[in-house]
Symmetry: C2
Subunit: 334 residues, 2 copies
């Protein structure tokens, strides 16, 4: 499967999608097969979430990772579905926790079927995913996935514990996004290497690639929350702030702005007074102090770390495609 | 470990507790070790729930099952803790779903730390339990536990889907309690047989024993909901009815009472009008039609099925103790 190409070849995202098109279709079919149940709530709610237009970034990483690892079988299809089910499970629970009315412009499952069903369908999808994973009878696979889900729950819980708390450090913040987001992408990439029967060192390299891509992804997401326009992303500016989530742009701003401004920001967050006016005040300060650029720079530095993690692999189409995906997670929507 | 004793020897529950006392202490310590975390919410909320006075029925089944299987190692301690963590995880989520203010007379975690934290700590405990399970590198263990958690989520979801719905059949009801309750006890007993390296047939027998004990347990629980007194159980009479859960006593009543009474019951459940007066009306009808006795008889029939499931094992203290436990699940608190 490996085709040596010149290092300076750069695939576009469209070319990457095209390279993965058939496998992505198979994964889509697999997800719908996995969601089939005699309990209609599972299939209906599962499909509602899955069809709400996710980016399928994890399936893409699985496809390209397993190709880079030289894997030529079909298990990556079923395993990509497992990862998407786990991701979907977290979204069901996240939306309940955030009391989210919409996701990507559509009503959330909790608005349509209630919080109770959302919690339980989330639980079901987690459990169903674990059932599939263990059916592969592969210990490294089991450990990668269970450890990722443990970290994800821990990350979400730490995020909740720090809600509205401006004493959170950049280190705490990075640990949280590492756990809640990067861990599943790391496991996804490791699975590719496991399927390709790579050495332990190579599995670790793949995992690190996924971890760094995940960090870049979440950093970009948290930064775009302060700049994205509604039409493009189906969500409004400052949603994290409204929910009391203290992310890198805000932490960077607090470090750079005047004592006076910092105190004002702290006051309005503590009192949960995120009005339009207060939001614009913060957005203007962010512009003034260049924190959006700074945060995106940090995100880009994780993309570079990701690329370095797999530098020992020979140049190939899947490697180039993975680099394109890594760039994409920070370039999308900006 | 097996000591032949006369079949007619009958251990009391006190003797059973005494037989298991040391192991139960070790399991208690293990649970608290497993709940340790640098995130205080995990340890504090976990301990709050675990210390709220559960019956430790599953640890008991694990201890006695593994002894009956001839197991002499220590893994049952860690695995009993895993099962309790999974059980605790479901209780965290159940209490959110039922909007429960108290559990066994204590405030629920959701009242003290909120629904959000309860959902996430539940998720964390599930994931932590799966991490421990897969660390044993035993496929049968993995499959037993993951399949049980899948069934539990499915049972809870089916229960929600049938909430307040009197068209539920006895078959539906039995399937629900099988999934939500019996499956974890079944897995617990199977684990004992796995540890003892029993044959596949014996593993299935152990599993069936646990399944039937679980069925008996839930049937007794659902029946006691209509008779238990507040002081004894820390919960009020008719809680299930209030929450719209249609269980066997009510189903049996609807079959036996007059058309007129059945219509009145249907009306007040559909309209969620479970006042003191309406509840007494139903309780009186239940007395009149002997449905409590009928339901307990069904529960006892599962105890008999449980005992038959392990009839091929030679008589021994652990077997007698398991029989005592099986009887206990329907005799407690009556």
């Amino acid at each position: 499967m490996k085709v040596a190409i010149p290092t300076n070849t750069r695939l576009t995202m469209d070319e990457v999608w095209e390279l993965c098109r058939e496998d992505l279709h198979r994964i889509e079919d697999q997800i719908h097969t996995d969601l089939k149940s005699n309990l209609s709530l599972i299939s209906v709610m599962g499909s509602h979430l899955i069809n709400s237009g996710g980016k399928r970034l994890r399936p893409l990483l699985m496809i390209l990772g397993s190709r880079l690892a030289g894997y030529t079988g079909k298990s990556h299809i079923e395993l990509a579905s497992v990862i998407e089910l786990i991701h979907a499970a977290t979204l069901f629970h996240d939306d309940v926790i955030d009391e989210a009315p919409t996701r990507r412009g559509n009503k959330t499952a909790r608005m349509l079927w209630g919080n109770q069903a959302s919690i339980l369908v989330g639980d079901y999808l987690y459990a169903k995913a674990q059932c599939t994973i263990v059916s592969f009878h592969n210990h490294d696979l089991n450990e990668s996935v269970t450890e990722a889900t443990r970290k994800m729950a821990k990350g979400e819980l730490a995020q909740l514990a720090f809600n509205g708390d401006l004493s959170i450090t950049e280190e705490d913040y990075l640990e949280i996004i590492g756990n809640k987001t990067a861990s599943l992408m790391a496991a996804t990439c490791r699975i590719g290497a496991i399927l390709g029967e790579c050495s332990t060192e190579q599995r670790d390299d793949f995992e690190l690639f996924g971890w760094n891509v995940g960090m870049a992804f979440q950093l970009a997401d948290d930064t775009l929350d302060y700049v994205a326009n509604k039409a493009k992303l189906g969500k409004s500016v400052g949603k994290d702030l409204e929910e009391g989530k203290v992310t890198l742009p805000l932490l960077a701003l607090l470090k750079r702005c005047s004592q006076n401004d910092a105190e004002k920001i702290e006051r309005l967050i503590t009192l949960s007074e995120v009005t339009e006016e207060n939001l614009s005040f913060i957005l203007n300060l962010m512009k003034e102090h260049g924190v959006i650029e700074y945060s995106m720079e940090i995100a880009r530095s994780f993309v570079e770390k990701a690329k370095k993690s797999v530098m020992l692999f020979e140049d190939s189409i899947p490697l180039q495609a993975l680099f394109t995906v890594a760039d994409y997670v920070v370039e999308r929507e900006l």
